[in-house]
Amino acid sequence: MSKYFSFTLTSIGAWILALLWISPLIFAFWAAFHSSSDAINFDLFSPLTLDNFIEVWQQAPFPQYMWNTFILVTGLLISQCVLATLAAFAFARMNFIGGGVAFALVLMQLMVTPEILIVENYATVAAMGFADSLVGIGLPYAASAFGIFLLRQSFKSIPKELDDAARMEGCSTLGILWRVYVPLAIPTYLAYGLVSISHHWNNFLWPLVIANSVETRPLTVGLAIFGAPESGVEWSQISAATLISVAPLLIAFLLFQRQFIKSFMASGIK
């Protein structure tokens, strides 16, 4: 009896916490489909409207922002995967002079991330002529210590016999990397990809420093400008803009929830 009682109590507690936790999101979702005056008065059963979304779409270049974010995230994922694959393979299997020191240097980026060095990195990117460009936003993140670290772990767990067998068949070193290592590490790529996409979709400080025009601003920076109190936009429209900005990632997350959570889990096991 007491066991049943404590189980019920735990369940109720867990549910209250969950509802509290998710309520800000549900509220934003609700407000985006209602007029500002209804949202402020918290009139639950007021009529639904799509006006906020239409207004937002007309007032600010959100399709352009979304396109910028999409290009940025895709480009980064490709460059991170290519560079990390090459480096991780060398670190995992080549045993070359200076490899240990180089790996230690690489790991420093896990702690000193590019956004901490905005002042000097801005100077570097501007000197390269990449200020206010998507390349400029992506460049400091194009090589990811975290990606190298994860892939190195994954490559190390691949049996060396496979390597030797492929070599006997006359496969070159890079051929082995491409035909043996990369296919076997696909789960790691998937896990890393989801973490990378959500990180760069949400990144704000560095893009804010670099982007200065509609053509380069990602969604987060565009949303910050749109929602600034000075712009005098109504609350319901801010909710709608917020929903537009998070929708692609949120929908992907809801569809592939299990995969997302697994990826984040894998990223923490070091």
Binding site: F96, G99, V106, E115, I116, W201, V246
Partner: protein, 292 residues
């Protein structure tokens, strides 16, 4: 011998694209921050001059620096234990066979994947005086509410609260991963010995989760220096720097006041904190905690 030589050359060739980029945007700027912090702020008439440690002397006398430093300490102390504690609680709840477990996990985790900017926009409305949800709920109950974001006493705590909300679900994931690898025999054995669930948690589960706690702790400390996005939306560091943090102050100094050398000196202070964190992580904690 030829193959031997090849291995070293090929190794360096393979890592060079990544290493060149990492050095350009991590190691070089760390060093150049230090060098530029030793110079004065130049202008078209008077170019920058070597001033030694003048920037650091000025920093010691800058009341705003001490305010943001103190704020950052409060921010760390306010967010880290609370988000880790909540994360552990959430993980333990989700790990059990409660009804609607998938929904619970989803509800706890979702804030994690949203951009901080979007989160700040949502919470801005809760904190807004008079029309904000918080005031609308609390005022009818006869509670006198402050101007959450406009009052120096509450602005930083409003920021802290959002960070906890955003972080807890993220840390929960790592605890959940660790809990799921725990062998069920442990629980069986404890049950046979007559240990209460509470004793089992404190004596068995919690100590076994120590490596996870360390990992989460390091990340939480790192985040307390890095997570400043919501400040841009909610308070802009105000009122009167009451909610400003080190990284936000660096941004303001460099990109609003255009004082690059001073911003570089502040960056060096931030790097010193991170170096200290790394030393503690690798030197002290990792030796004490047994890893699987």
């Amino acid at each position: 011998m030829r193959i031997f030589g090849n291995r070293h050359v090929l190794g360096w060739l393979l890592i060079s694209p990544a290493v060149i980029l990492l050095v350009t945007f991590t190691h070089y700027p760390s060093i150049s921050s230090f060098i530029s912090s030793l110079f004065s702020r130049g202008n078209p008439i008077r170019p920058a001059q070597f001033v030694g440690t003048d920037q650091y002397t000025a920093m010691m006398q800058d009341p705003v620096f001490w305010t943001v430093l103190e704020n950052n300490m409060i921010y760390a102390a306010g967010t880290i234990p609370a988000s880790i504690g909540l994360a552990l609680l959430m993980a333990v709840l989700v790990d059990q066979m409660l009804p609607g477990r998938a929904f619970l996990r989803l509800a706890y985790f979702t804030p994690t994947i949203l951009p901080m900017i979007a989160v700040a926009n949502i919470w801005l409305f809760f904190y807004t005086p008079e029309i904000g949800l918080l005031d609308q709920v609390l005022r009818p109950l006869g509670i006198d509410t402050p101007n959450w974001l406009g009052d120096p006493d509450t602005a930083l705590w409003a920021i802290i609260f959002i960070t906890i909300w955003k972080e807890a679900g993220f840390f929960m994931i790592f605890y959940l991963a660790a809990l799921q690898t725990q062998s069920p025999e442990l629980k069986e054995a404890a049950k046979l010995e007559g240990a209460s669930p509470f004793t089992f948690f404190w004596r068995i589960t919690f100590p076994l989760l120590m490596p996870t706690t360390l990992f989460v702790l390091v990340n939480a400390v790192l985040n307390s220096f890095k997570l400043v996005d919501h400040i841009f939306i909610l308070t802009k560091g105000g009122p009167n720097n009451a909610s400003s943090l080190i990284l936000y102050y660096i941004y303001e100094t460099a990109f609003s006041f255009f004082d690059t050398p001073y911003a570089a000196a502040l960056t060096i202070v931030l790097l010193a904190f991170l170096a200290l964190l790394a030393l503690i992580q690798f030197g002290v904690l990792e030796k004490r905690i047994h890893y699987r």
